[in-house]
Symmetry: C2
Subunit: 607 residues, 2 copies
């Protein structure tokens, strides 16, 4: 019986059989002490932890009572069940799977922590955001905080004794970060007095830990307007004494939490800093370096959010699949004329199979898309020369907006299809798929809306290094496409993928001209272009996986593996023939001089 | 300031300027006493009622307290605010806008009631389902119930003193109606004793009315299995004495209500009939005629559900538009290099405009798509010869699955985009768009899932009368396409629409062959084909509207109308160039011998 939460076999397939981490990374350089067995042990444990401990805390309604973060008398309380899994998470060392042994980590490749996160997030995204943001904030402290308390803070955060956040958004400054109003005033002792209100702060306050470390974006008095004048500060919820013990509260107060569509277990807080003039922060990095420092965490979180889309797609698909195998309704189409035909499981109906294979083939594609970025991080870390390092840095830059945007938009598609597969039951809270659909919706929004990702791709990434990064990205696809072309069973699909990738390159060239003459054409097309590129690239990932599956099948594997590899090939065929195949036609519509949405007067949208 | 709930100007445009009901229907035949002013008065009143009374009851959470139907001690309570609007709805005569004066109705064309319903549903779908189902059940009683109490029941239902439902689904019989287990046993006095459990019964029990009339599908003892043996019964919640007064409870008990993703104000009930052997029903129509009678209501409800998709798209779009005009964030792209540029409303950003015009052009399309079916009903009712009647009957048959499926799937798309337009605020319950997204999801499921609609189109409708209905449907599009081709500003779009419609016809021909040789190809393609046909047909509707707008613009209208007509033309261009244009490429993928989702072994979906 397959799990309803994690696809462990798929993760191992990607890591070992597609990315071949045993040859690529393990036993070498900083991974000299790691081997395949250790990796598999970690993955197995993560799967068990997800199934046995995290997933049972998933429902945000139990017996019609909401299970949610609660704000009462100025304090925030997480769902009671989170306390135990938070403790298990910290004790299990899950916070630092891929972090350096110097900070207490286990030093695995980034891929391993990412694979674990795909599982944990599937079990309960709202919960995992508490340790997830803690880890992200700790990484900033590790890289940018120079202060006698650095070691103390790091140790407390990486062990989960203290938590972390990212305090960026303000009521008037969401996508437009430069408009923020929070201020910092330098004190005689070198600290800063922080004042301002931040909103939508995920895991912004809670009772999981005794202290919370807030990286806070603010403008030092007198610094220029816009993003250039922004600095970033370490602001603890409770002050920290020079010996590392906790002191007085630091005038960081939760003004309330949002009532949301989903992720009810996570506290989305409004935080008031320095209402009483007593909020003290320490500068992180240099003055006015807030944006690049913040973006280090933001880029990591964007990978993380893409992973959330993958995780929810996985659990939604697996639930729908399990339901479709059990639910009896109607008769098999081949027995329609038999009056004595028995009801069959709905998985036998062609349209249900279409929905299931669509879910599977999308989920398979975005899983490897999200993991490929971590693969690139590991490749970059393992690179021995600058050219190689630069190449993988470019891959990370190019893929980040795709991972954040496409994985989460596809999360909407897959969770919606899962609800549809359940029929009326899918709309009921008795089953978890409606919650997965609600939970995923935030993933298309936070850490830069998907529209922002599209502008990042189009306005920054495509032209980086005069297009070299983009060319490298496409260049990496050549070998597997060429290999598939020599296989009669995949030749047609390889050609579709090649055509789609070429069309993406061609459109990018057209855009680079149009941006000078009629910039609105590419600007309007940005989101659709990001999707086209993702659909072409995911076609390539499918080809790659199908190439591996073809070789493995030729070796005559055991029955279960035979089924697994067959599923990979059929999924590739579905995705490429139904989705990637449409990319050239879609791109054609995007380069037409069709700017009705710019031309239309504002008054004409509705009267 | 445009409304955030209703697009009154758009409804009048379709009724008067596109469908030209003044010439077509009003003042003639059974509409001899109706004129344009009366229609506009009704529409104006409906808009006001929606804005002032219905919409304020919309939120399903107020100050963090749920507003929902509640089940307590065996009884169901609707949200308190529903009582007043239910009373206003009944007193206002809204139940019977287009019903015959013989039953107390106002006798307007069906289009008028449909236009009002689009507005009311936008104001609160969960509420409107109570009177909506009452009306549908009353129509069945009117057409099929022969009994001394018929007049009494009709009068009580059409005035809203008693309510109605449709009791079809059972826990083991959803899409597979023939599997139902409810039974009826004929008594000596001609009544039937009913036993069985029904689930997912919308508005199944509540405290809005003193009685509820349930049409119940059940099998008379000894009748054959499957759909052929099903009969339908009138089963009151409270027994009715021969003089029309209420008697004892009729052993119809609510076993509970569902906790759902959305439409929290509507009670989705499990109903137990005859638990104590004391549930009495009267036969409706003849024995074993349950399915065709039920389908009369089902087909009307399918139009109604499509209308729900239109309604939620409208209110979601209008809210997003209003927000986009107010929310300041970032600077206008043309001022990017100006350090003193002020923040602009987000409607000025190209990607936001793309989302808005996508929402608008889809909503405009599905609005007229849904109304066209009612137009066909009025044309059929007004037809003076059988050929004409038959033609419009064919149009209704062809369009019903498109209306139910495409309008609601697009409801998912538009409500999702509305959430996205709000950014983080869209995910918060403080704003209504997240609720609209949750509410709409049921519309793709109930009254026949959209997958069922696609099979209805492909398996039944395309081949009806040897394809004549389908040919008629396409034939109706010719005149407006030809007219647009003579207009330089619409010629390119008209050609795209023509090409898409021709491709739909061609694919249908291919399917009719394939269904004999490789039936899985069309069966797998059914849902996508329904969407392609809808996207092509909606292109035609846009052409039709743009033709009208072009003529009106030429006449030099007042400024507000100029904006309105300009919006119609730009919306048409966006929809046709971005959506209809892709239809031929999509259809091409559907006719390929690509049946991976049938070929894949069940065990290969996940291991």
């Amino acid at each position: 019986m397959a799990s309803q939460w994690v696809e462990l076999r798929d993760l191992k397939f990607i890591l070992h059989e597609v990315f071949n981490i045993g040859e690529e990374f393990l036993g070498k350089g900083k991974f000299a002490d790691h081997d395949v067995d250790m990796v598999n042990m970690v993955l197995d444990q993560a799967a068990k932890f997800t199934e046995n401990d995290i997933a049972p805390t998933y429902p945000d309604e139990v017996q019609r009572k909401p299970v949610e973060a609660v704000f009462k008398d100025g304090k925030v309380y997480v769902p009671e069940a989170y306390k135990k899994i938070y403790q298990l998470y910290c004790e299990g060392g899950w916070m630092t799977v891929s972090d350096s042994p110097e900070v207490g980590g286990q030093g695995f490749p980034a891929l391993i922590a990412a694979a674990c996160a795909q599982m944990f997030l599937a079990g309960n995204q709202a919960f995992l955001m508490y340790p997830g943001l803690t880890h992200g904030a700790a990484r900033l402290v590790e890289d940018h905080f120079q202060h006698p308390l650095r070691e103390t803070i790091l140790e407390k955060m990486y062990t989960g004794v203290w938590a972390g956040t990212m305090c960026l958004t303000e009521p008037g400054a969401g996508s437009d970060v430069g408009a923020l109003k929070s201020t910092a005033k330098k004190n005689a002792d070198g600290t800063y007095s922080i004042t301002g209100t931040k909103c939508f702060i995920s895991a912004g306050d809670h009772n999981l830990t005794e202290n919370i470390i807030h990286p806070v974006l603010a403008r030092i008095e007198g610094d220029p307007a816009g993003t250039k004048g922004i600095s970033i500060f370490v602001v603890p919820k409770i002050r920290i004494n020079p010996d590392g013990s906790l002191g007085e509260p630091n005038d960081v107060n939760c003004g309330g939490i949002e009532s949301k569509m989903g992720i009810h277990g996570n506290s989305t807080c409004t935080l008031n800093f320095g209402e009483n003039g007593k909020c003290i922060g320490w500068l992180m990095g240099e003055e006015r370096q807030g944006m690049p420092i913040m973006f280090q965490m933001m880029n990591e979180e964007r990978q993380g959010v893409g992973t959330m889309g993958v995780a929810l797609s996985t659990s939604a698909y697996l639930h729908a699949l399990s339901y479709a195998k059990e639910r009896l309704q109607g008769v098999n189409i081949m027995q329609m004329k038999d009056p004595n035909a028995k009801q069959c499981p709905i998985i036998q109906h062609p349209d249900v199979r279409r929905m299931l294979l669509k879910m599977k083939s999308i989920t398979d594609a975005i899983r490897i898309l999200a993991l490929y970025c971590y693969y690139a991080m590991d490749k970059k870390a393992a690179a021995t020369d600058d050219a190689e390092k630069n190449k993988w840095e470019g891959i990370i830059e190019m893929y980040t907006p795709l991972v954040k945007s496409f994985c989460t938009d596809m999360g909407d598609v897959v969770t919606n299809l899962a609800v549809q597969t359940y029929g009326g039951y899918g709309f009921c809270r008795e089953y978890p798929v409606e919650q997965m659909m609600r939970d995923n919706k935030i993933n298309t929004i936070y850490e830069g809306t998907n529209g922002i990702q599209a502008l990042d791709l189009l306005g920054r990434k495509l032209g980086m290094k005069k297009g070299l990064y983009f060319m490298n990205m496409l260049g990496e696809t050549a070998a597997q496409v060429a290999k598939a072309k020599t296989n009669d069973n995949l030749k047609a699909e390889a050609e579709i993928v090649e055509k789609a990738l070429n069309a993406c390159a061609g459109t990018a060239m057209q855009f680079s001209q149009l941006i000078k003459t009629n910039p609105f054409i590419p600007l309007i097309a940005a989101w659709d272009y990001l999707n086209c590129l993702s659909e072409a690239i995911c076609g390539w990932f499918h080809i790659w996986m199908a190439n591996v599956a073809t070789e493995k099948l030729a070796a005559g594997p055991i029955e279960q593996d035979k089924m697994f590899y067959t599923g990979k090939i059929e999924g590739a065929k579905f995705f490429i023939n139904r989705i990637t195949a449409l990319v050239p036609a879609k791109l054609e519509t995007l380069t037409k001089d069709e700017i009705s949405c710019v031309r239309i007067p504002e008054e004409a949208f509705a009267v």
